[in-house]
């Protein structure tokens, strides 16, 4: 065991993404105090963060090339593994974080809270996510999850003078801590069963003790519930609307996309590697939860008048769809999750970028009605909104369609026809509320003092870039589908 304690080049290689993110996070904290605050050029923090993301991108491309050439590799005694799955999700996190950074500056300035810590916390959260996707060890996974979650508690409450933001942070903290507790409890039982924290060893022990062993069932239930909180699956979703509404909008976008994707990554790896042999006992459970999640998310979204709340419930519904991919538990299902998450980055960030820019009397405006008459004032943005909403609804040829496509294919291949029919009909339900937003932009009559759009370079890049990618993935999806195919875990290929 001695060599495991020596930090090798391989260990360094697998940890590079997390190391880069932590270093740049610390760098932002330092430069913020010593340079940025003295010069007053606050946008420099964003630039530093983006440089970090650029460096990370280089590493991820290297990792992808290494995986393609020689297969997956691991470091730190097998507790962190770099495979197609991990790299893919890291790409998703890097894109989310970059988009979130780009849309932050103008919004936080308007709210009077534009500070360096915000960017640093985003990078720290991302470091956690990175290890959630690549961790192969119960302890690594849990610590990574907590790193992400703690950063988010602060990010959500970053508007110190806003009651709603503070309320959201407290709610998130308490429920998050509770769910983490449950998760830790479940993980400790797994350790008890197997005597090891390595996922492969845990998987063997679970397989050996059988799926109906009470300890396995207890571990399964507690870890599931803990993770259901994180992905906001019903009935553990109550925090989501309040947190999404109260948090600064760039954080909302970041939480709804990246933190959810990271939790799904952890969940997929845990369920595949550790519980894979017991799939017969968790598939019905997840199927039920997915169905309830789609139902509640879609129906609750219909009546929302606040854009952020509406998108929050829609994101609950999307979690239900993504969960179906795991219910199918086959190659198409996992590929579906990957492409779904990738598309979700662009369509959701696009939608939130617009909400971020919406202003009334200099304050952030967040009602659906604030969009009224947008098509008359700035038709280009109205077209972008239509693209994002159509994609969220899963109308081809937009990126969002392919996620639903694969997930439907996956559950049909397993013979879950009734579940597929419900999931498909909820697409029509969801179209109703997405079209409320389109309707406001295109058909709604503008108010006497219409809300204005406050865009800087960063938010323009987010809007246009997301729009272009949403259409591009939709029309020419081949490369993206291939990439998603590479991300499928070896166990299910």
């Amino acid at each position: 065991m001695m060599d495991a304690l020596i930090f090798t080049a391989q260990d360094f290689n697998v940890l590079k993404p997390a190391i880069i993110l932590c270093l740049f996070g610390c760098a932002i904290l330092l430069t913020d105090v010593f340079i940025v605050r003295r010069t007053g050029q606050r946008w420099l923090n964003g630039v530093t963060a983006l440089i970090g993301e650029g460096l990370l991108a280089v590493v991820l491309v290297q990792h992808l090339a290494q995986v393609r050439a020689g297969g997956a590799f691991s470091g730190l005694g097998g507790s962190v593994v770099v495979d197609g799955f991990g790299v893919f999700f890291n790409i998703v996190f890097a894109m989310s974080a970059s988009l979130a950074v780009l849309m932050t500056a103008r919004y936080m300035e308007a709210e009077g809270e534009h500070r360096g810590e915000y960017y640093a916390l985003m990078l720290f959260a991302q470091a956690g996510m990175s290890l959630m996707a690549t961790g192969n060890d119960l302890v690594v996974l849990f610590v990574a999850l907590e790193t992400m979650a703690l950063s988010f508690y602060v990010l959500v409450g970053f508007l110190r003078n806003s009651k709603r933001s503070n309320e959201a942070a407290i709610k998130y903290l308490i429920l998050g801590a509770f769910s983490s507790g449950l998760l830790a409890y479940g993980l400790s039982i797994l350790y008890g069963i197997s005597g090891s924290t390595n996922l492969a060893a845990v998987g063997d022990a679970v397989a050996a003790s059988g799926a109906d062993n009470w300890a396995v069932v207890l571990a399964l239930i507690t870890t599931s519930v803990g993770l259901f909180f994180k992905i906001s699956a019903v009935p553990f979703h109550m925090w989501a609307p309040d947190v999404y509404e109260g948090a600064p909008t760039p954080t909302t976008a970041y939480v709804s996309v990246a933190s959810k994707a990271a939790s799904f990554a952890l969940m997929i790896r845990l369920f595949t590697e550790a519980y894979g042999s017991a799939s017969a006992s968790w598939v019905p459970l997840l199927g039920m939860i997915a169905l309830i999640t789609m139902t509640v998310g879609n129906l609750a979204a219909i009546t929302q008048s606040n854009l952020k709340r509406l998108l929050a419930y829609s994101s609950v519904a999307h979690a239900g769809y993504i969960l179906l991919g795991l219910v199918a538990f086959n190659e198409a299902g996992l590929r579906g999750i990957s492409i779904y998450v990738l598309a979700y980055v662009f369509m959701n960030f696009g939608a939130f970028a617009l909400v971020t820019a919406l202003r009334r009397d200099g304050k952030a405006a967040e009602e659906v009605d604030d969009l009224n008459g947008l098509a008359g004032r700035s038709p280009g943005h109205a077209i972008l909104v239509a693209i994002f909403m159509l994609s969220l609804a899963g109308i081809p040829p937009m990126a969002g369609f392919y996620g639903k496509y694969y997930i439907f294919l996956a559950i049909l291949a397993e013979g879950y026809y009734l579940l597929a029919v419900f999931a498909a009909l909820y697409v029509a339900v969801s179209a109703y509320y997405y079209f409320r937003i389109i309707r406001a932009c295109w058909i709604g009559e503008a108010a006497d003092t219409p809300a204005s759009l406050d865009l800087n370079l960063g938010s323009r890049v987010v809007l246009v870039g997301s729009g272009v990618l949403t259409v591009l993935i939709g029309v020419l999806p081949q490369r993206f589908l291939d990439l998603a195919g590479e991300s499928v875990l070896a166990a299910l290929r």
Binding site: P396, L412, A428, R439, W442
Partner: protein, 526 residues
């Protein structure tokens, strides 16, 4: 050139949309000219198609095939046979006329209007030429979006309700179709080991799937198409959408969009799942629903106080005929159904255009507000009467040929079916003639009608091509039947391989079936 002709046809309006989008929104007349130019161009680019289309060939022609998404087995795969050919001709003509008829009636947000309309035109043309089921779904869905806006922005008082209702009904139907599509696609993969969405590949799956599975898959497709047709009881979106849409929107809805349901059935649902279509339950259920649609649509039309709504409900009745013909599953029924769909695409737009002409002057759709228009609008009266007779099934006009052929096909199956069909025709004559009497004849009772102006040249130009089409099919339907015959024979053979030998019809060479299809010479067949 000729191998890309189909791509050129559907891309022309799309290019038109991009050009319109690049124009400044203040120069409304420029936008109108450009949009109309592209609509005319859209008609002109079909000339090579008309010149080289071989109506004796039952295979797909002008085939264009490229890989699109190899990971899914989806291809850019276009081709037409007789069914698609007729629908494409109908689409370019009716699309052009709707763009022309909007000239004066659309005054707000002109640029967006024409952009959406050209986009819609491209989507509709795509639907009628794709042979890849995946690409079909893409066109089928994306086309809903511009239609939503056309109803929602330029429609009447309850336009928002009508627009979203139209969208959601159609979407709910089509997601079920998506599931059926994916199921057959997956079966194909299991059976043959590669992914493909090409129609002929998926058609081969039928031989390996149980009748029960085919039944469910057929219904998955059927519901999507039944919503679009629309078949009773899936029709409730139609009166709202047709009534609230602007004139051009109603024209396109009635003329083209409803035909997509019929086309989808003969192109995809029936050939892909022959045992699902010929299943006893399916036949009985669809026949009953069609008959209910025919009678119910006619009775409801009889009760309407709103002129446009009356025309809208008449579509339910007329399309009931078409589905009845299809489910007769014999050559007369199927060819008649597609022909009647084509006819309906000529005559119902005429009726909507007629409503639009007086609506633009009087801004009311209430039948009671009119009366005695014939005194002030003689030319209009003649045009309206022709449209009415075409829709009613007057011999010498197109409706007669279609209805007659369908009834022959239906009679072959059951005298009851034909009997109810005849009842539907009688009721149709009743509501249409009564409408004519109420709005056109008698003295002018409402002083506001004293000042109405007769049709102008542009309005005559809009109506003329459709009226010529009505007479052309009514007097000389042979050409249409020649076009419809090969694909019809192919479809019947697919559904019921023994049909021709059972009925003593020889299939030798390309023109052996004239005896089975009545209308080679309508006079001779009577």
């Amino acid at each position: 050139m000729s191998e890309h002709i189909l791509s050129i046809i559907w891309l022309t309006p799309l290019v038109g949309m991009l050009v319109v989008m690049s124009l400044p929104k203040e120069s409304k007349d420029l936008i109108r000219y450009v949009a109309n130019a592209f609509a005319v161009l859209g008609v002109l680019v079909t000339i090579p198609l008309i010149r080289s289309f071989d109506s004796s060939n039952g295979d797909f022609q002008f085939v264009e095939r490229h890989d699109w998404i190899p990971a899914l087995g989806a291809q850019y795969y276009l081709g037409v046979d007789g069914f698609g050919y007729l629908m494409i001709l109908l689409t370019v003509v009716v699309g052009w006329l709707s763009i022309l008829c909007s000239w004066a009636s659309i005054q707000k947000r002109v640029k967006e209007y024409y952009a959406f309309f050209l986009f819609l035109q491209a989507g509709m043309l795509g639907v009628f030429m794709v042979l890849d089921v995946f690409l079909f779904y893409v066109f089928w869905e994306i086309m809903l979006v511009p239609m939503y806006f056309i109803i929602g922005i330029w429609g009447g008082g309850r336009r928002l309700y009508a627009a979203i209702k139209f969208f959601l009904y159609t979407l709910a139907g089509s997601v079920l179709m998506l599931l059926a599509m994916l199921t057959v696609y997956f079966r194909h993969y299991e059976q043959f080991g590669f992914y493909s969405f090409a129609l002929e590949d998926l058609m081969r799956v039928a031989a390996y799937s149980s009748p029960e599975l085919q039944f469910w898959l057929f219904w998955g497709f059927f519901i999507a198409f039944a919503v679009k047709v629309p078949m009773f009881p899936f029709h409730t979106w139609l009166p709202d959408a047709h009534t609230e849409a602007p004139t051009a929107g109603s024209v396109i809805l009635a003329g083209i969009l409803l035909k997509m349901g019929l086309y989808g059935l003969v192109r995809f649902a029936m050939p892909m799942f022959p045992q699902g279509a010929t299943n006893d339950t399916t036949v009985k259920l669809i026949a009953v629903l069609s008959i209910v649609g025919i009678i119910y649509g006619a009775l409801v039309s009889l009760m309407q106080k709103d002129w446009k709504r009356l025309v809208a409900y008449s579509s339910v009745s007329h399309l009931g005929f078409c589905t009845l013909g299809l489910i007769a599953l014999n050559p007369n029924g199927i060819a008649g159904a597609i022909l009647q769909g084509f006819n309906h695409g000529l005559s119902t737009p005429l009726l909507f255009l007629a409503v639009g002409i007086v609506y633009d002057q009087r801004h009311t759709r209430e039948i009671a507000d009119y009366g005695g228009l014939a005194n002030r609008m003689p030319v209009y009266t003649v045009l309206f009467a022709i449209s009415l007779f075409a829709s009613m099934g007057m011999p010498g006009l197109n409706g007669f040929i279609g209805e007659f052929t369908i009834l022959r096909g239906a009679f072959e199956v059951s005298a009851w079916w034909a009997g109810f069909g005849v009842l539907g025709i009688v009721l149709g004559a009743a509501y249409l003639l009564w409408l004519f009497q109420r709005v056109m004849l008698g003295p002018i009772t409402n002083p506001k009608n004293e000042t109405v102006k007769d049709v102008n040249l542009r309005e005559i130009v809009v109506m003329a091509p459709l009226i010529i089409g009505c007479f052309w099919i009514g007097l000389y339907p042979k050409h249409c039947f020649e076009i419809l015959e090969p694909p019809t024979i192919k479809l019947v053979e697919r559904l019921d391989p023994d049909y021709f030998s059972r009925n003593g019809l020889e299939l030798n060479g390309d023109r052996a079936l004239l005896g089975a299809l009545p209308a080679a010479e309508p006079a001779a067949s009577e």
